[in-house]
């Protein structure tokens, strides 16, 4: 059970996960009813820790809050708006499609959705691994994080607000091996600038990121825009 994402449920109910790992675990919760049940139960236990800390509130607070309430509108009923589900890109062929190809395209869409679920699972496995470590990969104008696990034989690139690469280009990840840099994988941010990409390699020393042709290259051909070192 070395790669059990369930272990994140403890830090999750105590609000002790960093935002990116919390998002990943929430995606996992959407799919795992066992974890949802456990999270609800442990959340209730955590609430007892809070109740045990209860103190007599300052007398003035009541009037302040009741005055706030009198001038504040409540939200509409229904579940609170949460982050959107992963977007599925609608195959472009669909635009001109006849009924038969709609069926084919829907099939493709389902396969794609399935891949996304698998991918999210792979990512969670690395992040939740007991030996997971985190490396900051930083450069001018680009900061990302690499979470790696030897047990999972993989690493996950995590970034927010990363600029889109120029057209026809992609970000390339390199791991140092002796004096060489070996290719570890390619990644691009989604339209929000966020990156969650798993690669099946684990760096032992330096980590670098360059911008390369979309097809990928055997060795870096452009300056390193961000780098870090595994401690």
């Amino acid at each position: 059970m070395t790669n059990d994402p369930h272990t994140l449920v403890g830090p999750y109910v105590l609000h002790a996960l960093p935002p990116d790992e919390r998002d990943l675990f929430q995606e996992h919760l959407d799919r795992c009813s066992d974890c949802r049940t456990e999270a609800a139960e442990l959340m209730a236990a955590a609430a007892h820790l809070g109740q045990a800390a209860a103190v007599v509130p300052p007398a003035a607070l009541r009037d302040v809050v009741m005055a706030d309430v009198a001038r504040t509108r409540q939200v509409a009923p229904g579940p609170p708006v949460r982050r959107a589900a992963p977007r599925l890109s609608w195959p472009t062929t669909l635009a001109a499609a006849a009924a038969i190809s709609v069926v084919v395209a829907l099939g493709a869409l389902l396969v794609q959705a399935d891949h996304r679920a698998d991918r999210a699972q792979d990512i969670t496995a690395v992040v939740a691994a007991p030996d997971a470590r985190s490396v900051t990969v930083r450069g001018e104008g680009a900061t990302m994080r690499l979470v790696l696990s030897e047990e999972e034989a993989g690493a996950v690139v995590i970034a927010e607000d990363l600029a889109a690469p120029p057209p026809g280009k992609t970000y390339a990840l390199w791991f140092g091996e002796g004096s060489r840099m070996v290719p570890a994988g390619l990644f691009s941010p989604d339209s929000d600038g966020s990156v969650r990409t798993r690669v099946d390699a684990v760096p032992a020393g330096t980590v670098g990121v360059t911008v390369e042709d979309a097809g990928g290259v055997d060795q870096p051909t452009s300056p390193v825009i961000a780098s870090g070192t595994v401690q």
């Binding site: 369930h6 272990t7 994140l8 449920v9 403890g10 830090p11 109910v13 105590l14 609000h15 002790a16 996960l17 960093p18 609800a40 139960e41 442990l42 959340m43 209730a44 236990a45 955590a46 609430a47 007892h48 820790l49 809070g50 109740q51 045990a52 800390a53 209860a54 103190v55 007599v56 509130p57 300052p58 607070l61 009541r62 302040v64 809050v65 009741m66 706030d68 309430v69 009198a70 504040t72 509108r73 409540q74 939200v75 509409a76 009923p77 229904g78 579940p79 609170p80 939740a128 691994a129 007991p130 030996d131 997971a132 470590r133 985190s134």
Partner: protein, 196 residues
């Protein structure tokens, strides 16, 4: 003329001690019900904020935001996901943690301080205890945990640290902290169930 006449009080539509019933009325815009709910839950909200945020002025500011949030979000509360008290404590804790983590420098300073003083158990802050029974029950339940489980949970919950910071403070591997917290919370849940 007899005794001075008192204003007639409307008969409350919901039993005064029932937080869940009060919250259902609050969800329909009943601000009197909110006043009743306030009396039940504000000690916990203020207690959580003071314990996590520490600075009493900042903590009370957070508590004020949380209590208003309870009013604002009451129509979205889903009883299937947990009790009213759990829902409110969760909001209070999340907001308090957000406040202490909002500044990187502050965060680093706190971790350094905790490492230096070996503050494995964030002390309770000043303020008169509002719920002695609950406090005793939770203290008894925490006694069922191993030292490491108790330390990691207290640092994460009362200290407001991320599990990575907890690992740094206690000089433990990340994976150990994750599993200790989960195992400890499961034991805490079980011990509280037995006690209630």
């Amino acid at each position: 003329m007899g005794r001075p006449r008192r204003h007639l009080q409307p008969v409350p539509a919901h039993p005064p001690g029932d937080a869940d019933a009060l919250l259902r009325a609050v969800a329909q815009g009943d601000s009197d019900a909110f006043a009743g709910l306030y009396d039940l839950i504000s000690p916990t909200v203020v207690g959580i904020a003071r314990r996590v945020v520490r600075d009493p002025d900042q903590a009370d500011e957070v508590a004020q935001e949380v209590l208003l949030e309870v009013w604002r979000l009451a129509p979205t509360y889903d009883p299937a996901k947990g009790s009213c008290r759990t829902w409110i404590s969760t909001i209070a804790h999340r907001r308090s943690v957000d406040r202490v983590r909002s500044e990187q420098a502050e965060r680093n300073r706190r971790v350094r301080d905790a490492e230096r003083t070996g503050a494995a158990d964030p002390d309770p802050v000043a303020g008169s205890v509002a719920d002695d029974d609950e406090r005793r029950q939770v203290a008894a339940a925490l006694d069922h945990l191993t030292d490491l489980q108790r330390q990691t949970i207290k640092l994460a919950y009362y200290g407001g640290y991320t599990y990575a910071q907890v690992a740094e403070i206690l000089d433990l591997p990340l994976g150990t902290v994750k599993t200790r917290i989960r195992d400890g919370m499961i034991r805490l849940r079980d011990a509280l169930e037995v006690a209630s």
